[in-house]
Symmetry: D2
Subunit: 389 residues, 4 copies
Amino acid sequence: MSNRTLQLGMVGGGQGAFIGAVHRTAALLDGVFALTAGALSSTPDRARASGAAIGLADDRNYPDWRTMLDAERRRDPGQRIDAVAIVTPNDTHFEIARAFAQAGFHVLCDKPLVHTSAQATELIRVVRNTGVIFAVSYNYSGYPLVRQARELIAAGAIGRIRRVCVEYHQGWLATRLEASGQKQAAWRTDPARSGAAGALGDIGSHAEQLVACVTGLELESLCVDQSTFVPGRQVDDDAAMLLRFVGGARGTLTASQVCVGAENDLRLRVWGETGGIEWRQEQPNELRVAKLGEPECLLRRGNDYLGPAARSATRLPPGHPEAFFEAFANIYRGFGAAIHAGASGLEAAAQHDFPGVLDGARGVHFIEKALESARSDARWTAARFIPPA
Amino acid sequence: MSNRTLQLGMVGGGQGAFIGAVHRTAALLDGVFALTAGALSSTPDRARASGAAIGLADDRNYPDWRTMLDAERRRDPGQRIDAVAIVTPNDTHFEIARAFAQAGFHVLCDKPLVHTSAQATELIRVVRNTGVIFAVSYNYSGYPLVRQARELIAAGAIGRIRRVCVEYHQGWLATRLEASGQKQAAWRTDPARSGAAGALGDIGSHAEQLVACVTGLELESLCVDQSTFVPGRQVDDDAAMLLRFVGGARGTLTASQVCVGAENDLRLRVWGETGGIEWRQEQPNELRVAKLGEPECLLRRGNDYLGPAARSATRLPPGHPEAFFEAFANIYRGFGAAIHAGASGLEAAAQHDFPGVLDGARGVHFIEKALESARSDARWTAARFIPPA
Amino acid sequence: MSNRTLQLGMVGGGQGAFIGAVHRTAALLDGVFALTAGALSSTPDRARASGAAIGLADDRNYPDWRTMLDAERRRDPGQRIDAVAIVTPNDTHFEIARAFAQAGFHVLCDKPLVHTSAQATELIRVVRNTGVIFAVSYNYSGYPLVRQARELIAAGAIGRIRRVCVEYHQGWLATRLEASGQKQAAWRTDPARSGAAGALGDIGSHAEQLVACVTGLELESLCVDQSTFVPGRQVDDDAAMLLRFVGGARGTLTASQVCVGAENDLRLRVWGETGGIEWRQEQPNELRVAKLGEPECLLRRGNDYLGPAARSATRLPPGHPEAFFEAFANIYRGFGAAIHAGASGLEAAAQHDFPGVLDGARGVHFIEKALESARSDARWTAARFIPPA
Amino acid sequence: MSNRTLQLGMVGGGQGAFIGAVHRTAALLDGVFALTAGALSSTPDRARASGAAIGLADDRNYPDWRTMLDAERRRDPGQRIDAVAIVTPNDTHFEIARAFAQAGFHVLCDKPLVHTSAQATELIRVVRNTGVIFAVSYNYSGYPLVRQARELIAAGAIGRIRRVCVEYHQGWLATRLEASGQKQAAWRTDPARSGAAGALGDIGSHAEQLVACVTGLELESLCVDQSTFVPGRQVDDDAAMLLRFVGGARGTLTASQVCVGAENDLRLRVWGETGGIEWRQEQPNELRVAKLGEPECLLRRGNDYLGPAARSATRLPPGHPEAFFEAFANIYRGFGAAIHAGASGLEAAAQHDFPGVLDGARGVHFIEKALESARSDARWTAARFIPPA
C-alpha cells in the first residue's frame, strides 16, 4: 500500500448522527483515507463543535458545506481534500453532490442518492463532464460473500435465474419512535427530508441494489403494496412487492420497519435452474449454496476456495469474523482505489467494484416506480431503468 | 384411552403412493384407528395386491371404492368401518367423499379438498344434513408449536397483526421430473388429476391454511403472479402473491417447487403491534417468539411452559424430537376424538382441533381466487371466504 | 413386506412408564411387530390394568413375566410370541432376559443391558448356545444420518480419526426431582434399580455406544471425573472423561443431567486427518461434513446422495422430518428383519444393523471401568473391551 | 471524546505478520490511539521497510526496539509515545515488556504473556513499582456479549456454577503447514519461539482466560491429555483437560488445531444451579441464556435490555454486526481509558475492564500446570493461581 493517504472531507455526520461515525470508521479502517476537513452539520455552531470533538484542524472545520467547498478549492492541489463524503439527510444530497463534483472533487454520497430521476440524470451528466469518481454507499454490497454470490451467479453456478426473494426487515419503527424526538426516526419519517418513500427509500433501496448487484438482473416491472401501520406516521413503514425481471425471472421484495424482533434483517435468496444461494446480513460470513442433487454447502469468508472478489475484500483469516464496518470500508476501499488508479467517470465503479452514480440513479428510479405502482393499487408498473444517454 | 379402537377404511394409497403410507402410519400411531378395509387403487388388481401386501383381510380388501362402500354399509354396525380416509388424486375426492358421507361414514379427505367451490358447498351441505364428521388432512396444523403459535396470537401475545409472511418452497420439481415417469410428479403436474393449480394447489393450499389456522385472519383480497418455469410443464410450478386481510393486515405468500436446495420448506412469520413469531416445518420443535424490547425466545416442544393445545399434541419429552408423522397423527387423533365424543357435523372440527370441511372449502375458494387474480395479471381480486349458509 | 407380522411380548412399560409407550410405538410403526402379550408391571394388578388399557387380549395380559414366559412357551409355535421386549428398570434385565432367551424367545432389551460384566458374559453365553437373536435398544444409532456418518468414516471420508467429542447433556435433573415422586427420576436415581452409575449409566452409555457405532474405534483407556451436584442425590448426575482409543485417537465424553436449558442434547463430533463430521440428536435430519480445503456441507435425510445405510433407514422424502420414534423403530426393524431372515446368535446384529448383546456387554464394561477410574480420582484406567471367548 | 489521542508505539507486527495489522486496526478504530512510532521487526531492514509501508515518520521508524526505547524516552513528555504494543513472538515478550515498563511506558502485550511464572512475577513487581498500566491482549474478552455473560453470572442469573465447557477448535494446523514455510505456522510450532506449549499456549490460554473472565471461578486443579497428531510437529497441536474449580464446579477445556472444518471456533458454555449460558466467537453478537423452567432466550448485541458492560462496548445498533476488530478494539479502549483516567498499576485493569498483567500471569501459570499434568500422564495437578504478594 505505497499509495499516499487520501484526504477526505465530510458533509454532515455531526454529533448525534449515526451514519457519520460509521462513514468515518469505514473510511479510515484501511488507512486509505484520512479525514481532514468537514462541515458536519447544517447548523454552523453544531458543525464546528462536532468537528472539534473529532479532532478536525480548526482551519478546516467549516461551519457549512459551501464555505468548505470554497476554501478547499482554494487550497493547493496537494493540500486540499481529494474527495467528499456526503452523509446528510436525503433532501440535500443533490445540491451538495453536484457542487462538489462540478468543482472536480470526487464524491461518495449516501443512499438513496437523490429525490428525483431528473436530479439523478443531472448528476450523471456532471460525472460524465467532469470525470470525477462518484460512489454511492450501498454498503451491503461490500460484504465478501455478497461478492462471492455475484461471482458464482455470473459464472453460471446456479444456472439461469428463476426466482429472487429479498427481504429487509427491521423492527425499530414498530412504535411511533419519531414522536419521542429520536433523531434517526425523526428525519427518516419526515417526507420533507427523507423523500416520499419511508421504508421503501430507507431500506427497500438497499434491497433493490443487493438484487441488482448479485444477480445482474434488470427489473422489468413491479407491483407494490405499501402500508403505513403506525398511526400518525407520515411515510410508509412497510412495503411488499412482486417483481418481474427482463428475461423471465420473478421475485418478491419486502421492506418493513415494523417487524418486531427483526433488527437489521436483510436476506437474499436466489434460485436458478441448477442451484440456489442464500445470504443473510446478520450472519454475513456465510453463504449457502445448493446445487441440484448435491448437499447444500456453506461457504465461509476468508477461505482459499472463494473467488478473487471475496478474497480481496477480506482482512482476517477464516473464523475471525468481519462485519458491518469492514463491508462498509470495502466501498471506501474501491472508491479510494479508483482515485489512486486515476480512473474516471462512469466506468470507475465497475472497474473498482463499488456502487456508482448509475446504481444510485437506478435506485431513485426504482423508488419512483414503486411509489407509482403503490398509488395505482398494486398494478404492474414498468420499471426498467435505462441509463440516460 | 379406554375408547375402543376405531375401524378405518382407506380409498387410494396403494403401492407406489407416498401419501397412503403416511396416512396409515399417522392413523395407527396412537392406536386410535386400525385399518380394517380398503380399496387402495383405482385399478382393481392393483387395489387387491396392495391390500394384501399390507395385511388387509381378504373379504375387506376391495377392488374399488364403490364395492367397499356397498359392502361396508351392509355389515353390522359394530363390524363396519367407522370412517374412511380418502387419499386419491384430487379429481376423485368429491365423488368418493360425498358418497361415503351420505352413507353416514365419517370422512377424512386429503387436500386440496375438491376442484370447485360448488363441490365444496355440496359437501358442506351433506355434512350438515348427515351430521358426519369430516376432516381434511392439512397436516401441518397438527404440529404442537403451530398450535402454540395460534394460542399465543389468540391470547394477544403479539398484539394486532400487521404483516404475515408464509413461504412453502420445494425443489423437487426444478427439472421436468414428470417426464421420467415418477408417479408423484406425474399426477401432480397433470391438470386433469391435480386441478388447474399446480404448486398453488399442492403446497400453496397448505400455506393458506397454516396462515388461517395460526392467525385467525380472514383473507380479503389477493394479487397473484403465477409462473411455470420448467418448459413443457402443464401447470404452474411457482406462485407469489400479495395478501390483504380483513382488518388491515398485509401478507405475502410464496409457493414454489423449483427452489433448488429447498426440500419441504414451509415457514410462517407473523408480526403484530407488540411481537412476532416464526416457525419452520423443517425445525418443527421450535417456535421463535419476539416481544417489543425483549430478547427473542425459543419455545420448544414438550415443555411445561407451553399452553394446553401444544402440550396435548405431544407424545415425547423435550429434546426427544417429534416430527412429520406425529403432526399428521394429531389430525387423526382429533378426528378420532370427535368420533368417540359423538360430535357431529360442522362444529366437530373446532371442538376437537382438526381442519374440517369448512377449512377445505375455504382452501378451494382460495385456489379459485388465486387463479382468477393470476389470469388477470396480478390484479387485486376479492377473496373473502363466506361459508355457505 | 410380504413377511408375516411378528408377535411381540412386553415386560414392563405399564402405566406411567415413559419408555414402554415409546417401545410400543416404535415396534408397531412399520407393521413388523404386533403387541400380543405383556406383563407390563412388577405389580400384578397394575400389570393387568395396564395391559387392558392398551388392549391386550385378556388371556395374554399377564400378571408377571414368569407367568407370561410359562404360558407363552406352552402355546403352539405359530400362536406364541416371537420375541420379548424388556423395558423394566435395569436391575431386573438380567434375570428376565436370560429366562426368555433360554426358552428360545428372541429378546430386545433396554440399555444399560445389565449391572455386571459377569451377567453380560452369561447372556452372551446363552445367545451363543440358543442362537436367539438379542438386541439392545441403543436407539440413537437408528438415526439415518448416524448411519451415514458411520458409512462415511468407514469409507475413509475423514481419514484416520484423531479426536472424538461426544456430549450428552440434559437438564431435567438439575433439581432434586426424585424427591417430588416423579417416577422416571425416582428409579433412575436409585442405585438399587439403576445401578451404581446415574448419569453415566443412563445417558453416558448411549454416548459410548454412539461413538463405538459411528467410529468403529475401540476404547483403550479412560480417565473420569464424576460428580453429584444435587444435594441428597444417591447417584452421579454428571460425568466428564478423557478417552484414549486403540490406535491413538483421543476423545472427551461428557454426560450430565444438570445442564439447565439442555433437553436431550446428544452430539457427536469426530475429526480425522482429512475431514470432520458433526451430528446432533435434536436436529437429527442433518449431518455436517467438512473436508480439508472444502466448504462444509450439510447432508440431509432422504436424499439420493446418501449411502444405502441411511437411505434404507428412512420412510419419508427430504424435508419431511423424521425423528425419535422412527430412529427407535429402525432398531426394531433390524431386529425383525433378522428374525424373518432366520439369522441366529451373535452375528445377527451386524448382519441386520442393530445393536446386539455384544454392544450391550461392551456398554456394561464401559460403565464398570468408568466408575473404577472415577473412584481412583481420575486416573487412566484400561478399558478395552474383549468379548468373552 | 475530548481526550487527546494517545501515542502508541509498536514492537513487532511488520510485513507478513498477521497480528500486527490487527493490533493497529484495533488501536486506531476509535481514535483513542495513533500509531506514531515502531520497531516492527527483529530484522532492522525489515523493521524500517515495514514502518515506511504503513507511514511511520522516518525519525520514529526504528530499526529495533532498544533504539526505539532510548529515543522515545529522550523525547519531550508530550512528544513521546504514551504506550507500547508488543506483538512479537512469545519468547521476546518478557525482555521488551520489562524494559518499556521500567522506563515508565504503559504496555499492552500479546498473549501468552511470558514463558515462565518467574518472569510473570517479575513483571508484576515492575508494574507495582512503576505504576504503569499493563494490558494483555486477551481480545475475546472484549466482545460485548462476553461481558454480558460475565455480568449475568456475577448477578446470580444462573445461580452457583456447576459445569463449564470451553472449547477452542481450529483446523488450520491439521497438516504440517509449518513445513511449507507459512510464517504463522512456523513460529507457533517452534518451541524456541512459542514456548513449550503449542495449541495449549496459542489458543488454550485464550480459553482459560475466557472462563476466568466470565465465570470469576478460580481453577483448583486440572488433569490434562495432550497430543501431537501431525507427524514431525515439535509442539502439541491438541489438548483436552478436566478442570476442577475452587468451590466445587467442574469443567472441560479442549484446545485443538487439527479439527478439520473448524475455523476459529471458541465456545463457552456455563451451567449453574438455575440457568445456563452459551456463547460462540463465530456468532459473537448473540448470547443464549436458559433459566430453569423458562424458554431459552437469545440476547443480541446493541439492545437496551443488555447491561452497562455490554452496552458500553458497542458501536453499532442491533443487527448491524460487530465482530473481531471491534472486540479487540475494546481492549485498547479500556487500556486507553485507564491512561486518560490516570489510573495506575495492578488496579487499572479491573477498573477499566481490560485484561491486565495478573491475568497474563495466571495464564502463564495455567500453561505451566497443564504441561505438568500432561507430562504426569493426566494426573490431577493443583493449579490454583495465587498472585505474588
